[in-house]
Symmetry: C2
């Protein structure tokens, strides 16, 4: 997927800049880990509201921001929605086995 | 190692009660992760002051408390020192491969 360059483009860290501490912190929240699990199981783009998690929309938005800033997901704006995908291959390249092991532990 | 039962006995979660979110949170701090790496590399009991980390003694004490409460280390009081060991086998039993994968990622 190519990055979409628009006025509302969202910042994503480059693969080589991903930091383990940020990734572990992002995944240390049970709701965020659940969201990541959903994305791992269904690799299509998904919006906040498509997730079955017991949080408000603004909390959901916050959680996705933490995941994006840690480099775990990619987000793109489409109209009023942000569509989310997992950066699975990039995470695997940077931290081999990490995401799989964490998801297997949950 | 047997638990030492004294008036100052420190609480440790049982292996089956270890929570992934607490473990990931504890390891998401770079200083704590460094301490865990030292303990993994040298399995003898070590006190706070034996660690080469750029923090004050009280911060060190705090970090070890977080690690103990997450179930990552075992602490026992000996005189005025707290001696720390990694709960490597128990972590491996509860979350197979997790600690090894995280240490390999750092």
């Amino acid at each position: 997927m190519n990055a979409v360059t628009t006025a509302t483009e969202l910042e994503h860290p480059a693969t080589e800049d991903l930091e383990l501490s940020a990734v572990l912190h992002a995944l240390s929240d049970p709701v965020r880990l659940k969201m990541v699990r959903y994305l791992a199981e269904a690799p299509e783009e998904r919006s906040c509201r498509s997730f079955d998690v017991p949080v408000t929309k603004s909390t959901c938005t916050h959680h996705f921001k933490v995941l994006r800033e840690a480099g775990i997901i990619r987000q793109r704006q489409e109209g009023t929605s942000r569509l989310n995908t997992l950066r699975e291959d990039e995470l695997e390249a940077r931290f081999p086995g990490l995401l799989r092991t964490i998801l297997a532990s949950a």
